[in-house]
């Protein structure tokens, strides 16, 4: 089997960088660990939960999708190219890797998003099986697992008490990655460590049915009372993909930007005429949960949630998706009208 020692991670990154890969890895950044572009000297921290997900590198927080030279009221369209450097993301948790299927589906729903697809094609996902989970993890409740290989090109399985990783390639990109790593990845034997235990917190299929019956439930207000309507959860979420399009620029040039947005913001659905279909946080929280666990599933055949738990960990008001779903399951069915 192919092995890489845990203290050779920086060497692995350096070897891949020498072969032309942009390296993205979990790096300590002050008080947080963040998936970011690695440079020599950065310490890779594979144990912590990152504040951001692999989404950042496929659908960046702000991206140019159009460009115009301006001349008074006149304009000339200019060429726009996706920035899609050859990239490897090291240490992607299986929940994040599985989430890519959601983004792949949306960004190719009849209209192919060339920006997303260029980055996706240029990115190799090197997943990392989880040895630890915390109380906000719920991958097993949404069809995932702490050692799932869905969405990954290669997976590193912790072995020998965390001293090394067994490297398994899952696709051509994964094989190319291992080939590029050269001698840092060696042939050898190792015993895979036990994978994290993630108890199932709710039944997602039953939840979908419960949601369908409970659109009018007063529970939405109770569950959303703590929510302050920011975008921390949506931005951290590896499956959330809602965006805004804005033109910005000077008198001489305008760029059309695709920026992250969130259904949790008050103005997300505001009509020009003044009507807002979701005027309060309860309606917005309901949309968030129902889109992830019912509407998206109906449309695309998969949940728009991979159970990574980032939303709950990062929420300034400590709102928890897993807790909300469990509460909805525990509630009685809505009374028949």
């Amino acid at each position: 089997m192919k092995i890489v020692d845990v203290d050779k991670l920086s060497d692995l990154a350096a070897a891949l960088a020498a072969k032309g890969y942009r390296i993205v890895a979990p790096v300590r950044d002050g008080d947080v660990v963040r998936l970011k572009q690695w440079k020599r000297g950065d310490e890779i921290d594979l144990d912590a939960f990152t504040v951001n997900s692999v989404k950042d590198f496929l659908m960046p927080a702000s991206e140019v999708i159009g460009r115009y030279a301006l001349d008074g009221d006149d304009f000339a369209p200019e060429a726009v190219a996706a920035e899609a450097p050859k990239t490897v993301v090291l240490g992607v948790r299986p929940c994040d890797a599985a989430a890519l299927a959601v983004l792949d589906a949306v960004f190719n729903w009849d209209y192919a998003d060339a920006f997303y697809n260029a980055r996706r094609a240029a990115t190799t996902i090197a997943a990392l099986a989880c040895r630890q989970a915390d109380e906000q993890c719920f991958c097993t409740s949404v069809g995932g697992a702490p050692d799932s290989t869905a969405g990954a090109d290669a997976i590193l399985r912790p072995a020998d008490g965390g001293k090394r990783f067994i490297v398994e390639t899952l696709s051509e990109k994964g094989e190319a990655l291992v080939a590029a790593a050269g001698e840092v990845v060696q042939e050898g034997e190792a015993a895979a460590d036990a994978v994290a235990e993630v108890p199932v917190r709710f039944d997602a299929a039953a939840l979908a049915a419960r949601l369908a019956e409970n659109f009018e439930s007063p529970l939405w207000q109770t569950l959303s009372l703590a929510c302050l309507g920011c975008g921390a959860c949506a931005y951290a979420c590896p499956t959330c993909h809602c965006f805004d399009i804005q033109d910005e620029g000077t008198r001489r040039e305008s760029v059309r930007l695709r920026n992250w947005d969130s259904c949790g913001f008050g103005l997300f659905t505001q009509h020009a005429g003044g009507h807002n279909p979701r005027p309060d946080q309860a309606a917005r929280w309901r949309q968030r949960v129902m889109h992830k666990f019912l509407y998206f599933a109906e449309r695309f055949g998969r949940l728009a949630c991979s159970g990574c738990g980032r939303c709950a960990r990062l929420c300034p008001a400590h709102v928890s998706m897993a807790e909300s779903c469990a509460a909805l399951m525990a509630a009685r069915k809505a009374a028949k009208r």
């Binding site: 950044d29 002050g30 008080d31 947080v32 963040r34 504040v51 927080a61 702000s62 109380e135 207000q221 109770t222 009372l225 703590a226 302050l228 309507g229 920011c230 975008g231 921390a232 949506a234 931005y235 951290a236 805004d244 804005q246 910005e248 930007l257 920026n259 992250w260 969130s262 913001f265 103005l267 309060d280 946080q281 309860a282 990062l314 300034p316 008001a317 400590h318 709102v319 928890s320």
Partner: protein, 277 residues
């Protein structure tokens, strides 16, 4: 009864007697403290208060769903008490809208905690002036501000460029702050688009600096914004800088005086600067 037990008993009593329709406090969730909205006296036992409580619960008073349940009792440490007094000074809440369940800062009272009772806004302002007039920002924050001031302009710009590059424009800072209660935030106005909404250096600078300015003389040092920031941006280095300036140049410390005039919204004939006279 110790401080926490007394707090819980008061909360239960307020609900039973109808003197509060909701008690907004903190409950334990794993290693963290999450907000709790208690409407029945039986729920008061879940209230806790300690150093892990980092949210400023006064922020909830801008939510219509919470305002519909006034009078609201709010568990309030000194910075949160100051936020409540500030909101009253800015006419967002009135006496009778809130009952302040006043607690001392975590660690006061030798670990047992201190509970000052269920107070009116006027009593809260008095308590703040009598017992918590000398609240100061944490020394680490002041030290870092000093070292930033000692840097060259280029070094300081480099520091802030790097810090603000992490901003994703999630507005958790705004959401967590009780002083940010505008129904349409300046960043949400687009005719004209005052501040770029993109998570790019230009817009990130504008957003974070302008929010700090809009909180000038209004920040009560609760640090809920910095606690809320998912990216770990040291927001207090901005907010405390502006707050210290407001105190030194204009003698204003937010949240002690129910009748205070807002720093940005008032002027005096004695102002140092002659352009305003």
């Amino acid at each position: 009864m110790n401080a926490l037990e007394t707090l819980r008993a008061d909360a239960a009593r307020l609900l039973r007697e109808g003197r509060a329709k909701v008690v907004i406090g903190y409950r334990t969730r794993g290693k963290e403290r999450a907000p709790v909205f208690i409407t029945d006296a039986s729920g008061a036992g879940s209230l806790v208060y300690d150093a892990a409580c980092r949210q400023n619960l006064a922020a909830y008073l801008r939510k219509p769903e919470v305002r519909a349940r006034r009078p609201a009792a709010v568990v309030a440490s000194p910075p949160v008490m100051r936020s409540l007094v500030l909101l009253a000074a800015e006419s967002q809440i009135g006496e009778g809208d809130v009952v302040v369940l006043a607690v001392g800062p975590p660690g006061e009272g030798g670990g047992e905690g201190v509970y000052h009772g269920a107070l009116t806004l006027a009593e809260t302002a008095r308590l703040l002036k009598e017992k918590y007039a000398l609240l100061a920002p944490r020394p680490e924050v002041l030290d870092r501000i000093k070292s930033l001031a000692a840097m060259s302009a280029e070094e300081r710009a480099a520091f802030w460029s790097e810090a603000l590059a992490k901003c994703t424009r999630c507005y958790a800072c705004r959401a967590a702050c009780p002083a940010c209660y505008c129904t349409v935030c300046i960043v949400e106005k687009n005719v004209p688009q005052w501040i770029s909404t993109a998570a790019r250096p230009h817009g990130n600078y504008a957003w974070n600096l302008i929010r700090a300015f809009h909180a000038a003389g209004r920040c009560t040092g609760c640090e809920a914004c910095e606690a809320a920031c998912p990216q770990g941006i040291p927001l207090m280095l901005l907010n405390v800088l502006v707050a210290e300036e407001a105190a030194e140049a204009f003698g204003i410390k937010a949240g002690y005086d129910l009748d205070a005039e807002p720093l940005i919204g008032s002027w005096s004939a004695d102002d140092e600067e002659d352009f305003i006279r």
